[in-house]
């Protein structure tokens, strides 16, 4: 027997086919190289998980295999960046934003080096692989590091747009990206600007500010609520830092209920909700904010879709939390 019989059988190296959203990572990098940027990419033994094997196949001389050494990868990337070469280094967000947090602070951000950090499979997207592989703290750890830009694209096309935009952004960047199975929000292509949210409308009853995979779910929830006569808007806060203060304040000003809501697959402490709360309190807006996400606990083990339903981070769940909040 030389091969498995069923066409449905798959092995690890065929994983990319199951994560089409991550094609945009390699596509974006290939596009940068083609445009003449001196870009290289590296990964800590996860090139089939993050799809960088496609970049490595296109430019074998521009791919660095770091092996399972996340801290070395980050510090070495900072060393590479001192020479004018722009390194993109990728691993699971659970490791990048936590295990290599100090290297990111010391060598990348304090060092002021334009390294591009790609934390993928973020939030609870790794499902039953376990809580060790969930990243519900990375916005919090990364956001408190000075001079570090944080981008949380909601889908592949937005990721690709952000990679394109990074060519004109000379600061260090942490990209918080999903698993590549995220539903598409922006069919075809889209644009991205640092410090700018993608506003899908302000709601008079409620505006939901989301990031990453929860944007699609928030749009679903908003559509269902609008169908019942509610005025509900959604802001895709893909630029977590710098955050789009104008979008937040715009939503606050349009609210008749004086209520806003944030949604993230992250601890409700330290993440997007906290960032939005800071803006609202800075400006004294008198808004009641519902910060929805993982409520300061370790997430359970389950298939991802079951987890999103359990934590009310899918469309139905967000709608339920939002309605309850509006009634309260």
């Amino acid at each position: 027997m030389n091969a498995p019989k069923s066409p449905n059988t798959w092995q690890y190296r065929e994983l990319n086919a199951k994560n089409p959203g991550l094609d945009h990572l390699s596509n974006g990098l290939i596009e940068l190289v083609k445009a003449g940027h001196n870009v290289v990419a590296g990964s800590a033994d996860l090139k089939y998980s993050n799809g960088l094997n496609r970049f490595a196949a296109a430019y074998p001389d521009r791919y660095i295999a770091f092996g399972i050494s996340e801290q070395n990868m980050v510090s070495a990337a900072a060393g590479i960046a001192t020479t004018g070469v722009v390194p993109f280094v990728a691993t699971f967000a659970s490791f990048l934003g936590l295990l290599a947090c100090e290297q990111i602070r010391m060598d990348v951000a304090y060092g002021g080096q334009p390294v591009r950090l790609i934390g993928h499979h973020t939030g609870i997207s790794l499902g039953f692989y376990g809580t060790s592989h969930h990243a519900t703290e990375d916005i919090g750890t990364m956001r408190s590091i000075a001079d570090l830009t944080i981008v949380s694209p909601s889908d592949g096309p937005q990721l690709e747009a952000a990679i394109r935009a990074s060519a004109d952004w000379d600061r260090p960047i942490y990209f918080r990206i999903g698993r590549g199975r995220d539903p598409v929000v922006y069919e075809g292509s889209t644009t991205f600007s640092f410090g700018k949210a993608h506003v899908h409308g302000f709601g008079e009853d409620l505006t939901i500010i989301a990031c990453g995979i929860t944007v699609h779910a928030a749009l679903e929830a908003a559509a269902a609520m609008k169908a019942e006569g509610r005025s509900v808007g959604v802001i895709d806060m893909a630029s977590i830092k710098p955050i789009d203060r104008d979008a937040i304040l715009g939503a606050a000003e349009r609210s008749r209920t004086h209520k806003l809501m944030t949604v993230e697959e992250h601890n409700v402490l330290g993440g997007l909700g906290a960032a939005v709360a800071e803006v609202l309190t800075d400006e004294g807006k008198g808004i009641k904010l519902k910060r929805h996400g993982i409520y300061d606990e370790y997430s359970l083990i389950a298939p991802p879709t079951h987890l999103y339903a359990h934590y009310k981070l899918d469309g139905a769940g967000i709608r339920e939390v939002a309605e309850e909040f509006l009634r309260s």
């Binding site: 001196n38 521009r62 510090s75 070495a76 070469v85 304090y110 060092g111």
Partner: protein
């Protein structure tokens, strides 16, 4: 003396002449004296960490490294990263002397607004090739600079000095296996084997021997040298830098004495951090000036 010994002819061709040796020895003394002066401004500092490394600093910056006076950002320059960043007080006088920044900066060492602190900041201090202060990162930073030559086409050598206590950091060994795997012949690591860390003798706190065998097992070409023999240090580093055939990174174990130059500092590990009252500073200066190291 160095080991393993190469062919005598090859060694001799890199041997510095007496004038050079005298000059480098004088520069090492300058490094020690300036360190005492700057730490007096700060009122606390790491004398002994500089004193163990003074000959290596002198050999690198005044002889071995490819540098241009007054051009700290020259793209083709050799690079130097340092894991024991607390020895930066011994590097700043060199950088000022090489015209990387105005000498007047030294006079405000550690004062509010000064670019010069106990640990070096690459964004503030021209000449610092990479910031330091968190032990264990420097070799990774150095391998990044070395591997980047593939994409920049620039030709240079990268030196990385690590403390011997730094060998206890796991990231060092992540970097070590990467450097060997990628055949980084343009990378030269130096371990300042002065035998002490904050809490005591390195070999009592967390033993690291056999250090040469460990690095050799990780795929590095390993050499051991008396780190205070300025002639031997210079000769070895010149030879390693000139060797274009080496396909593996090189490591120099520089056997040194922490506090070398001031007798009582050489025997008391507490001198890792301290301050000399002006009267004691004068005596230390006199002792340093009276000795040929």
């Amino acid at each position: 003396m160095t080991s393993p010994s190469a062919a005598p002819a090859a060694i001799n061709s890199y041997k510095p002449d007496q004038n050079t040796v005298d000059w480098l020895r004088e520069r090492a003394q300058f490094i020690r004296l300036e360190t005492i002066r700057l730490i007096d401004i700060a009122k606390t500092g790491h004398y002994t960490s500089v004193f163990s490394a003074a000959e290596v600093f002198s050999a690198l910056y005044y002889d071995v490294m490819k540098l241009r006076r007054g051009e700290p950002g020259w793209a083709e320059r050799d690079r130097f990263t340092i894991g024991k960043g607390h020895a930066a007080v011994g590097l700043f006088p060199i950088f000022a002397d090489l015209g990387f920044f105005p000498k007047g900066w030294l006079d405000d060492y550690t004062r509010l607004g000064s670019p010069l602190g106990d640990h070096p900041d690459m964004r503030k201090v021209p000449g610092v090739d990479f910031s330091s202060g968190s032990i264990g990162h420097a070799l990774s930073n150095a391998i990044g600079m070395t591997v980047a030559q593939r994409w920049t086409g620039k030709d240079y050598t990268v030196f990385c000095m690590m403390g011997d206590g730094e060998m206890q950091e796991g990231q060092v060994w992540e970097a070590a296996i990467f450097a060997a795997q990628n055949g980084l012949g343009k990378l030269i690591g130096i371990v300042d084997r002065n035998g002490f860390q904050l809490d005591g003798r390195v070999d009592d706190v967390m033993a690291i021997e056999p250090l040469d065998e460990k690095w050799r097992a990780f795929g590095w070409e390993v050499h051991t040298v008396d780190g205070h023999d300025i002639s031997a240090v210079t000769e070895l580093l010149r030879r390693l830098r000139a060797d274009d055939t080496r396909k593996q990174p090189a490591l120099v174990i520089s056997k040194t004495i922490k506090g070398k130059g001031v007798s009582y500092m050489e025997t008391e590990p507490g001198w890792h951090l301290g301050w000399l009252d002006p009267s004691d500073a004068q005596e230390a200066i006199a002792e340093i000036k009276s000795k040929v190291i």
